[in-house]
Symmetry: C2
Subunit: 495 residues, 2 copies
């Protein structure tokens, strides 16, 4: 074991404190675990490395099944949107204008009508919907696209969480009735919740955004709100009920079954690669990434402990195990590199391999191996004959432990408060989400929300619980204006 | 049957002549079969509709397995490339300059260094490779990305075949030896050939491009050349051996196993959504799309023939068949729309559903159905108990027939010639590919190739057979300059 210990002094050892320096820990981890490379030449346009794309493709696979079950089909719409078209939808687009990247030249030619690179695709997709929709028989119409979008952030960028280009999916739908649209929003939210809980092992709440924080043009915006270990919330996905706010200006009409013209009811919903950031922050520790079993590029790593002259039986045993693991459909690597065992441990911990198997000459003799779970790091001696069963059960136990830990964080991270001083104290202590009575999530409440944010140093009114907002206790008052509070709202710092 | 015949007069009937007006037939078909919508507001930025994305995703799935087997992993690189970086690689990039779309503004801010939207990603990916590669242990390095690219075409655009934005994959690799790079080019070509023959059912040839028609910066460019029914060839994919042409200007060095610095040897390879255009052109007919079984969104369509009072047993039987078909893992739709059976036939023919099943009251009584294959349109009566076996065998037979038909076209579409008049005649007759002795595919031959193209009204010297060029017969002469011809080259009009 001395040898292994010595590995700790290795210059490549990852050993950052998630507790003490969360932001540095995160930046260092996404770099060292080769999820992202920020050295690309344009700020905010990061490289998603294979380890991150692996996770993104798993997310894509899961959501494609969910979307298909909802009745949505994938399509692909143009990257660019003419400025003249955007002007038709000024209300929606105004909010995006400060962060649009503009194409002004094609080859040597200056364009008459400059082109926005899509920051989101409502405008262009609805432009096509106006062609595609004629009668109620064309409805519902549900399309989804996986694509890149560009938002010219002027604030600090951060890998996965805030970039100028990111990958996402955006679903866009049109319905004959408001109820159809509403149900679609709920279906999208449920699909996303399944993604979070079943795949990413991150619990979430549905939060309906206040009036002033909705997506431009939406009637309702509902977020999947997750709590990160640093006490900030992360919007992990959103679904918007757009009502007729796009169909009216863009003339997306249909003939209903009474042969009358009517504007369609619409929704849009999306998640992005920021989910990968949430995954890293939720589960990682001071040694590196911790990944749910199905999101790990290498699920089982085998470390042979080699002594001169005794290599052969050890490597043979490793090969046999690898074969069996792969036959179960899991990915497996034997780390035969020249590094010392300790270095190998740190490397695979950094990269979040969920299970590690150590095989030495003694293990060959005794017909067992040492099995180590990434999250607990506990070494368990397992009989050869039980190994495959143990892999399955430990993989399940790891997933469950990750979810439960995150769930505990979310539960214990919601505190009640009634006074603004309490909110300030809790927000400053990074205690998480504070639930308070509040005057209004309508336009009226915006001034109080701004004052609260200023006063607490960043605590935002995120909104009310969806679908049922919680009523404020009788006689409760808004901690800012002192007016009667109808509902409870959630306040937190946010990514 | 009278009812069905009457369907032919329906305004929605697709009935174009592929033989007589190939180009109109193609444009009308991709529109009517809802593969693409060209009404998006910016020329050359078309919408890929769900029927096309379905095919593209099948291509992605197949190639992802192939690339993984080659050792490549997916990543994602920035959409934009700073002009200053492009200038470092002027030789490569010059060719793209006339068709680059430029981003000049981020929000309200004018950018100091304007940004090219990637027309291809060699520059940006190699920029990262310079960071990632240190020693021979980092090699080979193989990444692939699925993304959109923009090339500001000034010529006529055509859906899938020539657009300003298209989707593609681009693999980029670095090797310690020239042999490694060369083998990688061959591996990529073989993967693409498997895609074409096994998935798309289109045969191809490997053609090495002449010196003047290589990818900018490549030592060798090899194309997968396919022949379309109108006598033009379509470059269905390419692989480039880049040698050290990028690693030298961009300083991508590694320490070899003798601890000496050396520049890496590189390749790149790609296919794009133009494959969908090739698929449509290769197999479609005057009634619409014909799709290989695994590329059809709806593989089996069931048409119930309903007579008043006899609907129930017919629909029950249809439901039972659908269930069995789906249990086999195939997609199936019962067309219960209000259209007449004839209209339904035309609709599903247009959309390329490979197999159609007709079920009427008589079929219920007689315990059989009528099964119709899309390509032959032959109606076969099949016993209920044999239906699933027949579906499997007819699906296989359809795929085989598509491939064989296309193979026959390619074989019979290659003609030998020795005189320029013959070449002109064959090219003008749209007879396909003409194989001729030619002076040189090196720089020396460019003038002759240009003259030949002019003389024949568009016949291009596409290159020589790869990996082994065919020797010209003894004494053979270039039909243009009359100098001794070493090799045989392939001449054709091209998309």
């Amino acid at each position: 074991m001395a040898k292994e210990e010595s590995g700790k002094s290795d210059k490549d050892l990852f050993n950052m404190s998630k507790e003490e320096s969360f932001s540095e820990w995160y930046l260092e981890l996404v770099r060292r675990a080769k999820l992202v490379d920020q050295r690309a030449p344009t700020k905010g346009f990061d490289v998603l490395m294979p380890n991150a794309m692996f996770i993104w493709e798993k997310i894509q696979g899961f959501l494609n099944s969910e979307f298909a079950a909802m009745g949505a089909r994938n399509a692909y719409f143009p990257l660019v949107i003419p400025e003249s078209l955007l002007e038709e939808e000024a209300e929606h687009f105004e909010g995006f204008i400060p962060e649009v990247a503009w194409v002004t030249h094609g080859g040597e030619t200056s364009l008459e009508n400059r082109l926005a690179i899509r920051p989101t695709s409502e405008t262009i997709i609805n432009y096509m919907f106006a062609y595609w929709i004629r009668s109620y028989q064309d409805l519902p119409l549900q399309v989804n696209q996986w694509c890149n979008v560009v938002r010219w952030e002027t604030k600090m960028t951060k890998p996965f969480l805030r970039g100028r280009e990111f990958l996402w999916q955006e679903g866009h739908t049109a319905w004959a009735t408001p109820d159809g649209a509403k149900k679609n929003v709920d279906d999208a939210l449920k699909a996303y919740r399944r993604l979070l809980t079943e795949v990413l092992k991150i619990p979430c709440m549905f939060i309906k955004r206040p009036e002033w924080d909705k997506f431009a043009g939406a009637e309702d915006t509902i977020s999947l709100e997750t709590l990160m270990p640093d006490g900030k919330v992360l919007q992990a996905g959103t679904a918007h009920n757009l009502g007729q706010n796009f169909s009216k200006p863009l003339n997306i009409e249909f003939l209903n079954d009474k042969n009358e013209k009517e504007f369609v009811y619409q929704t849009s919903w999306g998640v992005s690669t920021r989910l990968i950031g949430g995954l890293v922050m939720s589960h990682g520790d001071d040694h590196g990434l911790i990944l749910p079993f199905n999101l790990a590029p290498t699920q089982v790593v085998i470390i042979p402990i080699l002594f001169k002259g005794k290599e052969k039986p050890v490597l043979e045993k490793c090969g046999k195990i690898k074969q069996e693991v792969e036959e179960m459909g899991c990915s497996c690597v034997i780390d035969e590199s020249d590094s010392r065992p300790g270095e190998k441990h740190y490397y695979w911990e950094l990269n979040g391999a969920p299970l590690r198997i150590e095989v030495g000459p003694r293990d060959v003799e005794k017909k067992n191996v040492v099995l180590v779970r990434r999250d607990t790091a506990k070494k368990v001696v397992v009989k050869d004959k039980d190994l495959m069963d143990s892999i399955v059960s430990e993989a399940g136990a790891l997933d469950k432990a990750l979810y439960n830990k995150a769930k505990k964080l979310l539960k214990s991270g919601i505190q009640d408060a009634t006074k603004k001083e309490e909110v300030k104290e809790l927000i400053e202590a990074r205690a998480g989400i504070v639930k308070i009575p509040f005057c209004s999530t309508g336009k009226d409440g915006e001034a109080c929300a701004e004052e609260l944010k200023e006063y607490t140093g960043g605590g935002e009114v995120r909104g009310t619980l969806y679908p049922r907002p919680e009523a404020a206790p009788k006689g409760a008052k808004c901690p800012i204006c002192g007016k009667a509070a109808k509902e409870l709202v959630y306040v937190a710092k946010a990514y």
